[in-house]
């Protein structure tokens, strides 16, 4: 496990933000005003920053998600 990095400068994440914003615009753009799209962009910036912080932490192959799945079988 390595140490996380600090927030990346806005310029560094802009291409990823624009790509994600294009996805949102493609899916929902017809129902969003310019002001609302600007709000979505701000929210995406936060999501992308968080993703970079998560990706910066290196985990070993054996680190499983902290959420257990159990096989299901209905009780009689």
């Amino acid at each position: 496990m390595s140490e996380p990095e600090t927030s990346r400068p806005p310029e560094a994440i802009r291409p990823e933000v624009e790509t994600m914003l294009a996805l949102v615009r493609e899916r929902y753009g017809s129902r969003l005003s310019p002001d609302e799209l600007a709000g979505v962009r701000t929210a995406i910036e936060g999501i992308v920053q968080a993703a970079h912080a998560l990706r910066a932490v290196r985990l070993g192959n054996g680190e499983e998600p902290g959420q257990a799945f159990a096989a299901y079988r209905a009780e009689p």
Binding site: L23, V24, E36, L37, V40
Partner: protein, 466 residues
């Protein structure tokens, strides 16, 4: 009569009822009248459940008269956050205008358990729409209006269990049930100057509760004291086949402290960014805690805690409300930002969500390692006084504030209790939180009770409540 019972603790009311010095019907009528008269002042109530309350109160009175006393909640009025399903034609709105007339035909498990304990459901309480999961930035984010703080009508009570906090603080109910995904019990408890308990994830069944985030959602009590929170938790805790995340770990609310000095930890830098009054009140609280134990500074490894919990919350909330988001039904919500912010969550990659879940496992282990030699981590419950009603809500969930205690506590599913510890310059309460290892509700409650036995903040109540 009203003056004697309105701000009495659940424990005290229970004693009076058990000794048959207080009628459950009279008690219910007292709180129903306050809910109907004062509830609108604070936008605290969605539905007063008068008929159901009086039926339950009459039944309690008859049972107790016949010698069938069920326990300390028998005949005690309460309110439930309006995300808990209730039968009998009582609406369950999730605080959201599109659901204002929606009715379920069953009771949530927590409601069923409280009924079995003899408690009397008097109201469904207001909340931030969809428990705040759509990205709201302002107090006015519910079809019932912004939650108004009983300590100051220009301040917010929330959120998202806004009505649960204000109803207890204003003496509209002796206790309430709230829910927390990230901050939604501790925040209104702190803002309103009452006690709020976030149980360990899996301690209380969420069956029949609105799902915001399956791996973060918890239900818990708000009341005047930590002791009362323990009494309520004992009634609602336990395994429920209808909620597979619940576990079979009995919880018994202890009446005594551990019998040795407590060991408290304070995370390095935990007051950074907090308002001056919050820092001062926290230091005064530490002085009190040093009378009952030791206090040492501790540290967690440098991990992106807020990002871990935020990513999990956003991804799961986007899925939980996929229908509303995809259909555009979120346009019917009250806060304008709730009409569009959730669309951004399409930007969360599955790989990043899974990475957050993997990091959650690391976070849970590191938190437990730090907590193992301690009884509790202590910290300010909130970084500041309640937001102004016309102001913006600072939130770690949106990244406009930092909340390592909340990110770790909710991300790792750890119990915490918040109790009032003073006031800020606007006359609004501040709070102190105790967070413990998983399943250590008894320990954090014992610590909070010990703190409350040496302070009187919980005995102060808002003015202008007649």
């Amino acid at each position: 009569m009203a003056e004697q019972v309105v701000f009495a603790s659940v424990r005290r009311l229970g004693e009076l009822i058990r000794e048959r010095r207080l009628s459950p019907v009279t008690l219910a009528e007292t709180f129903l009248e306050r809910l109907e008269r004062l509830g609108p002042r604070y936008n605290a109530v969605v539905t007063v459940t008068r008929a159901r309350a009086l039926e339950q109160a009459r039944r309690a009175e008859a049972e107790i008269a016949a010698g069938r006393y069920r326990g300390p909640l028998h005949g005690i009025p309460y309110g439930a956050k309006d995300l808990l399903a209730t039968s009998g034609g009582i609406p369950t709105t999730w605080g959201a205008a599109p659901f204002r007339d929606r009715v379920f035909d069953f009771d949530a498990t927590a409601i069923v358990k409280l009924e079995a304990a003899g408690a009397v459901l008097c109201a469904k309480l207001a909340m931030v729409e969809l428990a705040g999961g759509m990205g709201y930035r302002q107090p006015n984010a519910a079809f019932t209006g912004p939650g108004v703080n009983p300590w100051s009508r220009d301040a917010w009570s929330g959120g998202s269990s806004s009505g649960s906090g204000s109803a207890v603080a204003a003496g509209l109910v002796p206790f309430a049930i709230g829910s927390e995904t990230w901050g939604s019990i501790l925040s209104p408890a702190g803002n309103c100057g009452v006690a709020g308990l976030r149980p360990t994830y899996g301690r209380v069944s969420r069956h029949g509760a609105m799902a915001l985030c399956w791996t973060l959602d918890k239900l818990g009590p708000l009341a005047l004291t930590a002791d009362d929170c323990g009494l309520v938790l004992e009634a609602i805790a336990g395994r429920d086949p209808a909620d597979p995340t619940t576990v079979d770990r009995p919880f018994r609310h202890g009446a005594t402290a551990p019998g040795r000095p407590f060991h408290f930890g304070v995370l390095r830098g935990v007051t950074e960014g907090a308002e001056e009054a919050v820092r001062e009140n926290f230091e005064r609280s530490l002085a009190v805690l040093r009378q009952i134990g030791t206090v040492e500074e501790v540290a967690l490894p440098d991990l992106p805690y807020d990002d871990i919990t935020r990513t999990i919350l956003f991804a799961e909330a986007a899925s939980a409300f996929e229908d509303m988001i995809e259909s555009g039904a979120i346009r019917g919500l009250t806060a304008p930002e709730d009409h569009y912010t959730a669309y951004a969550r399409d930007a969360i990659l599955a790989k990043d969500y899974v990475k957050a879940l993997r990091l959650r496992g690391v976070m849970a282990r590191e938190a437990d390692r730090v907590l193992a030699p301690l009884d509790a981590l202590v910290a300010p419950g909130r970084a500041g006084e309640a937001a102004r009603l016309d102001g913006e809500v600072r939130s770690a969930i949106r990244g406009t504030a930092r909340d390592v205690m909340g990110a770790v506590g909710n991300g790792a599913g750890l119990p915490a209790v918040a109790v009032p510890n003073g006031f800020g310059p606007r006359g609004l309460p501040t709070s102190l939180q105790f967070m413990g290892r998983a399943w250590e509700e008894s320990t954090v409650l014992a610590a909070a009770r010990a703190y409350q036995s040496r302070t009187d903040w919980h005995e102060r109540h808002p003015a202008d409540l007649t």
